[in-house]
Each structure stands twice: as structure tokens, then as C-alpha cells.
């Protein structure tokens, strides 16, 4: 168990700076896939997105989203997969890449929910969007990472 925790800590130490420094580029990829989905909603049909440092900026209408809040579970994903026995074995690397793809799709969904929720609250209080967005952010993001990791490594 001590070795597992040490590997988890090492994974965390690597993942945090990696995540922090690649966050602007990663956010641009998330925004690239989110924009067409958001444009399906008539109220956001003319929305324009940009990324500045670690903020995702939407204009027309305006919204400022902290990118770290949408993507922080990447750190947990890397740290958990770093803790497995032989993390660089082909099987584990493939499992990590598949899990990362699943987590990426939840980041796109999370950004859509964030935007819809923010404007629903502006329009007049709590809504289903807000409930789902809060569920995803507080509980769903770590739970999805755990589920991917558990499914990939349960044998070990």
C-alpha cells in the first residue's frame, strides 16, 4: 500500500504542473468541440469563444469561465493510473488513453452545462441545468475518473 501511495503522490507531482501549463492549449481543444454544441441553443447562436491564460471567455453573450474548474479531474486521472502496478505496460497505457478520452467528453459536456446553467441562473434562479451542472462538478467529475480507473484496473 505504501508503494501505491508513493506512486500516487509521484503521479500528482507530475500531473499538477503538466495540467497547469497545458491548460490553455487543452481548453482551446475543449472549446473547439463545445462551440458547435452551444450554437445549437438559439440564445447562444452568435457566441464567440476565446481562451486567455486559464480563462475561457465567451462573448455575445458574455461569460467568463475558469478553465481549471472544468478540467481539474485530469490530475486525479493521471495520479490514479500512476499508482497501478506497472503503469507503463501496454494494457494500462491503452486503458489510460481510453479513460482520458471519456473524461475529455465529460469536459465538453461540463462546459456546455456550465454555460447553460450560468444563464439559467441569470434568467431567474435555480434550474435543472444548474442541478445537473453542480452534480457533475462536485461529484461527477471525480466519480467518472474513479469508474474508468476501477473498470480498467479491478483485476490488479
Amino acid at each position: 500500500m505504501r508503494r501505491t501511495l508513493a506512486k500516487f503522490a509521484a503521479g500528482l507531482a507530475v500531473a499538477v504542473p503538466l495540467w497547469w501549463f497545458t491548460l490553455p492549449a487543452y481548453s482551446r481543444v475543449v472549446v473547439f468541440l463545445t462551440a458547435p454544441l452551444i450554437h445549437l441553443d438559439a440564445q447562444f447562436a452568435r457566441a464567440i469563444f476565446s481562451v486567455a491564460a486559464n480563462r475561457i471567455l465567451m462573448r455575445n453573450p458574455s461569460l467568463d469561465i475558469p478553465a481549471e474548474q472544468v478540467t481539474y479531474n485530469l490530475v486525479l486521472l493521471v495520479a490514479l493510473f500512476a499508482s497501478v502496478r506497472r503503469p507503463f505496460r501496454d494494457q494500462n497505457v491503452i486503458a489510460f488513453l481510453i479513460s482520458a478520452a471519456i473524461v475529455f467528453t465529460t469536459h465538453v459536456a461540463g462546459l456546455v452545462l456550465w454555460i447553460e446553467s450560468a444563464f439559467a441562473i441569470r434568467a431567474g434562479g435555480w434550474s435543472t441545468w444548474s442541478a445537473v451542472q453542480t452534480l457533475l462538478q462536485i461529484v461527477g467529475m471525480p466519480a467518472i475518473v474513479f469508474a474508468c480507473w476501477w473498470a480498467a484496473t479491478q483485476k490488479q
Binding site: 500516487f8 497547469w20 481549471e68 479531474n73 490530475v75 481510453i98 442541478a131 461529484v139 471525480p142 479491478q154
Partner: protein, 203 residues
């Protein structure tokens, strides 16, 4: 994605097997045990997800939030403030707000440890184990998580006061990973104890 539980197994050689088949036996990709294990995994993950949704619905239920979650969050803030004062930080607490001379933190949902408790409880209840083991696991795990959470709140105040530029990184990426990592590893350790107990009882 092939389950790591599936192992290729050799079929036994039968009387009607040809010479070619003896040298190149067929290797099925899945066995009955493999399929059963996959179903158990899927059932566990589905139960886990449903329990998380149920627990979260409790969090959203206003009377429960006002009578249970809010007082609980205030007690976390109170203990964290006491810890900071013992360490010489000179802070005051008002409700869930901890303030010092130059900085303040407010303990909200997401920082009161409740989401990690629900995560751990959902995982342990979803796992097939005796009820008393689940209860013991949830109680002990909750205590560990809340001790870690109090340390989190206190340390975030100090980081915010001394290095505000690092606050968000520690708040989200580091501490959230540590708290949920602790929940995951407590769950893994607990499952290994349960499985050892099951094996001992089976003998």
C-alpha cells in the same frame, strides 16, 4: 475495452480433435467466469452511480441542506478556525466564513468533505459485502476524510494568506485530488479486507 479479468484459456483436446488442432488449439476470448466478473463490475458501477445521484438529491433538498449540511459545514469551519488559532494564525469565524487580517475563506459545498463522504459511502454500499462491514467502512472512512478536510481548509487559508497566486491550484488540483485519492484508496483497502474475510469464511 477488454476487461483485465478476461484471460485467454486453452480448450481441452477431445478425441475428435485433428492433428492440426492439437498443435493449434482454439483460444476463446471469454470464459463464463470472465463474463460473470464483467457483470459484477457493471452492476457495481451502476449501483455506485445511482447511489451518488440519490445522495446528491439529498444535498439539493432544501430542508436537508438547512438542517444537516449547513450546520455540518459550520462545524467544519469552526474546527478549522480553532486549528488555525492554535497554530497562531489569529482568525475569526462567522458561520462558514474564516477571516484573518489579509485573507478569508468561505467553506461551501464542495469544500466541506460531504461530496467525498458520499462518494466513499456510495462505493462501499454498492460493493457486495456484509452490512456491518459496510457500516464500519463508512464510519471509519468518514472520520479520515473529515480530518483530511479540516487540514485542507486550514492549509488553504494559510496558502491564500501567504501565496494567493497558488490558492486555486491547491484548492482544485491538489487538495481535491488528495481528498478523492484518499477516498479511493480507503475503498480499495476496505475491499481487500472484505475479500480476505470472504476467502477465510469460505474455507
Amino acid at each position: 475495452m477488454a476487461s483485465p479479468l478476461c484471460e485467454d484459456r486453452l480448450q481441452p483436446v477431445t478425441m475428435t480433435t485433428t492433428a492440426a488442432e492439437v498443435h493449434t488449439p482454439k483460444r476463446p476470448r471469454y470464459t463464463i467466469r470472465c463474463v460473470a466478473a464483467n457483470r459484477r463490475q457493471i452492476r457495481f458501477l451502476v449501483r455506485f452511480a445511482l447511489l451518488l445521484i440519490v445522495f446528491y438529491a439529498f444535498m439539493l433538498y432544501r430542508p436537508f441542506e438547512e438542517r444537516v449540511i449547513d450546520p455540518y459545514t459550520q462545524s467544519i469551519a469552526a474546527v478549522s478556525a480553532s486549528l488555525l488559532n492554535v497554530g497562531g494564525a489569529h482568525v475569526t469565524r462567522s458561520g462558514t466564513l474564516i477571516t484573518g487580517r489579509t485573507f478569508g475563506v468561505e467553506v461551501k459545498n464542495g469544500c466541506n468533505g460531504v461530496e467525498a463522504l458520499f462518494f466513499l459511502a456510495a462505493a462501499m454500499i454498492a460493493f457486495e459485502a456484509p452490512a456491518r462491514w459496510r457500516l464500519a467502512g463508512v464510519v471509519v472512512g468518514s472520520l479520515v476524510i473529515e480530518v483530511l478536510n479540516i487540514v485542507r481548509v486550514a492549509s488553504l487559508y494559510l496558502i491564500g494568506a501567504m501565496r494567493p497566486d497558488l490558492f486555486e491550484t491547491f484548492h482544485l488540483a491538489i487538495w481535491q485530488t488528495v481528498i478523492f485519492g484518499a477516498a479511493v484508496f480507503m475503498f480499495v483497502y476496505w475491499t481487500s479486507r472484505v475479500q480476505r474475510l470472504d476467502a477465510a469464511n469460505a474455507r
